[in-house]
Symmetry: C2
Subunit: 329 residues, 2 copies
């Protein structure tokens, strides 16, 4: 490994662009290779970011010995296969969320990473956002007491392009895997464990995927989370935490830059600004660098167990809705 960590990007869609932009802003990172199977896409992307190795097959990318780690930015349905391809080539992996289509796939890829002792992490960038790091500190200090209820929603009104990955059941579509994953991961982060009871409703559109859903998760000691994800409705994307001593609010909870909190019986809303540099993926990149440098195969902040548990939560919800992906193993 030379002084820079050399990245390869597998899949050249929108999120890959944002990630590549973040890579450019991490001095220790170098974007060395890209691959896309869509004709012309890797070239356009690669030239835009002045990438040395531009491939039209994933195999070439993962077998380039100069590349230290692969960032997988394909649609959800491909994650499982893409992770296996990387691990089989002994390449460390940062894989976009949702990590896989289901928990079974997650367990399988994690088992391979464990056996082969190769770094693997779900790209849950939210957990590395500086404001979220500050939130965890605040909660550990009991700033608003014991959290009893979390409300969070993530809704965007997407153009109704039914072939788009968001609506396409063959591409792991649906608002849950794309947006809901943040709310689920957020609630898990706060309560420290998985839900024990699930109640939910979903609006399944004409393509067979969830376009709107509300889920109501119960945790130990009757702690609750009321979460919502939608690809049909624009929502404020806030999270509110209700504690025994007060409440906390985060705007754009999956990439916040401000924490507002209010103690019970007080009128004053306290605020702390924790700004971050856009687009915001650099913090997870730094975590990956730390792990690779220290020889860790698993992140302590986004451990494997969380990826598996979050997938299990989504499996349970989809089961309640009768939503099964054709690509599920």
């Amino acid at each position: 490994m030379n002084s820079k960590i050399r990245w390869g990007i597998l899949g050249c869609g929108k999120i890959a662009h944002a990630f590549a932009f973040s890579l450019k802003n991490v001095p220790e990172a170098q974007l060395l290779g890209v691959a896309s199977r869509t004709p012309g896409k890797a070239r356009t992307f690669g030239e835009h970011f002045a990438v040395e190795y531009i491939y039209t097959t994933y195999e070439e990318l993962v077998n380039n010995p100069k590349i230290d780690i692969i960032y997988i930015a394909t649609t959800h349905n491909f994650h499982y296969k893409n992770i296996l391809l990387c691990l089989q080539a002994n390449k460390p992996v940062l894989c976009e969320k949702a990590f896989t289509l289901n928990a079974k796939q997650a367990v399988e890829v994690i088992e391979m990473a464990r056996e082969k002792k190769i770094f693997l992490m779900e790209a849950m960038w939210m957990k590395f956002n500086p404001c979220i790091v500050k939130l965890r500190e605040f909660l550990a200090e009991g700033i608003v007491g014991d959290i009893r209820l979390i409300k969070a929603d993530f809704g965007e009104k997407f153009p109704r392009d039914l072939k788009d990955r968001l609506f396409n059941i063959h591409l792991g579509g649906g608002a849950l895997l794309d947006l809901g994953i943040y709310a689920i991961s957020f609630a898990r982060m706060i309560y420290g464990h998985s839900p024990i009871l699930y109640k939910s409703e979903a609006y399944i559109g004409e393509t067979g995927v969830d376009e709107e859903s509300a889920y109501f998760l119960e945790y130990e000691n009757k702690k609750l989370a009321m979460l919502y994800s939608s690809s049909r409705i624009e929502m404020p994307n806030d999270a509110t935490l209700f504690g025994t001593k007060g409440m906390i609010k985060l705007k754009d909870f999956f990439h916040p830059s401000k924490i507002e909190w209010k103690l019970n019986g007080k009128r004053k809303i306290k605020t702390i600004e924790v700004p971050y540099d856009l687009p915001g993926y650099q913090y997870e990149i730094l975590e990956v660098h730390d792990c690779l440098t220290n020889g860790q195969i698993e992140s302590k902040i986004m451990p494997w167990s969380e990826s598996i548990e979050n997938m299990k939560t989504m499996d349970t919800l989809r089961k309640q809705w009768g939503l099964k992906y054709p690509e599920e193993i």
Copy 2:
């Protein structure tokens, strides 16, 4: 009936004080009599408001021929009995919410009002709030399109006095009947009908009543309401309506004075202020006056069917929690 409408107040608790204050501010209203069975309470109350007839039995109050209408402000467990007492004495009634303990009681008192042709209304003051009236106009104009989701919560951190009506199962205690009724009534007002599916969780405290609960109501066409009531947690008490074209927010949704709305894709939040005079019960008082003056026995804005349906909704939720009041018939 003389030029003023002469009111009697049955029960002299906190809400009765606020209501009496509102009566004083309605020129056409006169507070003529009060009754409380608690020694000394009617006298203190009556002297404070310079009331002519002060009674220590409800029977005396309802049988005073000079009184045109009775406002019932006792604890929920007594409403059924108190309404029957008034109707049997041929007195019109405005009864505090929750209307009764359950739908069966509501049906029974309404049947008597219908048979005897006597005015009866649940004191759901929220529906007469000028800002709520404006909201109904806005929704009829489709200001944010078709409403798909309503979120509302009503939580206050009450002192843990376990003998207080809020925690006392014998007084119809619990956050649902006291606070949740607003959220349920609000959602019903927006969607125009009762929920068709109920999912809920409650925290039942040591006195056997719900101290915290979340309910997830589904309406026709998969429209949803995510509602919460708590006597343990202070909440912002907002309602947010998510429509196909945008969202609407009301602070203190059960007595708002401002409507904020935002159209999808726009950054600008539009606002209209619709202030009201405190404490705010005068608008339901004016509705009662209108009905009495016009010989209506039922309000068109808060009809009997709504009181029954709201009680049915709460019956269903309590059944899910195994919460039954000893006083239920």
